[in-house]
Symmetry: C2
Subunit: 328 residues, 2 copies
DNA sequence: CTGAAAGCGCTTACAG
DNA sequence: CTGAAAGCGCTTACAG
């Protein structure tokens, strides 16, 4: 069963491929092609169940209507939801997605980027794991339109969509105080060079009433549970009585730890960046700093497509969205 | 900044494009091309940072090393994890993914399938929302290799990977009895024509000690919370004392309902298909029927690539994996 | 109003 | 051991 091509339609109608192509691309009127001929072409295309070959088209036109997306881990609900938002927006504008996971692995991310360029994506949306903005230089050299999401790089002239992490973290710490916490600690995650993480740490430090009491636990991203268990143990018997978690994975690990100990968090109050379903279902409920995930996705796609479709007259845009404190 | 092509390498080396192509595709030795020439080609390719154009290649060869994936909703943790598993396996075999969400919408799913065929995917992995196996006929006509996952169609000769839903549901119901439940009801989800759902209902019915007490609540998939709230209300004061949930979304809605009522489930015992993190973190913990998600993903990719790479000598394979009862 | 031709970047028989 | 040529399916000047 061979695929139907332009040629098949042209031959069965006795017209040229060019004409068929024009009509099917909606340029029939513009080029003054006979209305009836146009109708015949469209009918025949439908009859033969013609499906244009996007790769041939892409090869010719230099665009493929495909956007590459790289996130650390799509099974993490934050990135899963982000990808969903990106997909919806992209789809509505006629673009498909190629999604890949970097697993916070710099080498894998590099390879993925090359892979995607290979596949002639029109642009890339990237939640990067790079420790260094220079890694992105290759992309600029390759002239691939790029939008960074979630994680940005200071001093890099690239479109981006992120949230105001510093303020978000400050709000979180303030809320802990409001709940009667005296000395909050921060559970952060390595690697801390990720912008969203370092900014949240800054926010925690800013929000602290007594800077001398600043205390950070750096949990390794690839072994969160154990890191959290150790940190919790170390916290026992100290005066620290509140925890600000830089992301939902850490908060979940705390829940897990305390659920197996069957004494819940005891005197500890907890607040977390990222609002996830579970925070509303456990007891006590957990307050959080919610990110506008849909907006992040929509903005990223909007920015990228803007950039794609009118390459020149576009200044770098770095959008920073507000977070929302959910008090529980 | 123009992309580097085969021609650029060929010209700068004074050889033909054909030779460069052969060398770069590892056919140099096979075709007896001078070792030194091969080395020069490879060096030059690296020096110019040559990236082959996969679309040109795809156009010529008829394969694109791209797999299409359609799931109902990637932000659902079950499908998120499944996609992750699929991506890892596919990636390790040199394939990329184009992932799309159908949102249980038959029309959208049809359009997505056409879209993906447009893009010349080599094959498709599909968790279909179709109510009818005939919808898939177009795919067979188009000769696109297909593997169904999670949801299958009886009497359809197509590769598939699913789990033994009937047995899984039976195990769940039996466990409820073991916990002292006298009359379990089933919270199912519409549309019930989805194979995984209908099979779980069958399992529930099979497992019932007293068939006359069979009771099903059919929760609409696009308004789960309200459906669950109503069902719970209706259950009050009846003799039903256990709930088997056909999937995690329903169980989450029950958690949500009971958390806002602050009386937890009271006398009700709950068990759910799909094992999700949260079941281990709430109190009381929730038992569940876990699916081997990674295995489903791996098997699907394996089956598909098998099919792609040796089209003929391949009999239809419908793999059914075991579930695992997690007692909590 | 319509067609013939070139060319996007690649691979693969074929020829020598 | 290597090259010239055809062709995958499309679009776009160009010509008439």
């Amino acid at each position: 069963m061979k695929k139907v091509s332009l040629k098949d339609i042209a031959e069965s109608l006795g017209v040229s491929k060019a004409l068929v192509s024009l009509v099917l691309n909606g340029k029939g009127d513009e080029r003054g092609i006979n209305k009836q001929t146009q109708e015949r072409v469209r009918l025949k295309a439908k009859e033969l169940n013609y499906i244009p070959n996007q790769y041939a088209r892409g090869l010719r036109v230099g665009r493929t209507n495909t956007i590459g997306v790289i996130v650390p881990d799509i099974s993490n609900v934050f990135y899963g939801t982000l990808c969903k938002a990106i997909e919806q927006e992209a789809y509505s504008k006629g673009y498909n997605l190629i999604i890949s996971n970097s697993y916070e692995d710099v080498q894998k991310e590099k390879k993925l980027i090359t892979d995607l360029i290979n596949r002639n994506i029109d642009g890339l949306i990237l939640a990067s794991s790079f420790d260094n903005k220079n890694e992105l230089q290759g992309l600029k050299d390759n002239d691939v339109p790029l939008v960074l999401v979630d994680r940005v790089f200071e001093g890099l002239d690239v479109d981006s969509v992120s949230v105001s992490n510093v303020e978000g973290a400050e709000k979180a710490v303030n809320f802990l105080y409001k709940q009667g916490v005296k000395s909050p600690v921060c559970f952060t995650i390595s690697p801390v060079y990720i912008s969203s993480i370092s900014e949240r740490i800054t926010g925690y430090l800013n929000g602290l009433e007594n800077k001398k009491m600043a205390k950070l636990f750096q949990i390794p991203h690839d072994n969160i549970q154990e890191g959290v268990n150790l940190a919790l143990k170390e916290l026992k018997g100290t005066e620290y009585d509140g925890i600000f978690c830089v992301n939902n994975s850490i908060a979940k690990a705390i829940l897990k730890a305390s659920s197996s100990q069957n004494d819940q968090f005891g005197r500890l109050k907890i607040i977390s960046f990222d609002d996830i379903e579970i925070f509303d279902l456990v007891k006590p409920k957990i307050s959080s700093v919610a990110q506008p995930i849909e907006k992040i996705g929509n903005n990223a796609v909007e920015l990228l497509i803007d950039r794609l479709e009118k390459k020149d007259a576009h200044v770098i845009e770095q959008r920073v969205l507000e977070t929302n404190l959910i008090e529980r």
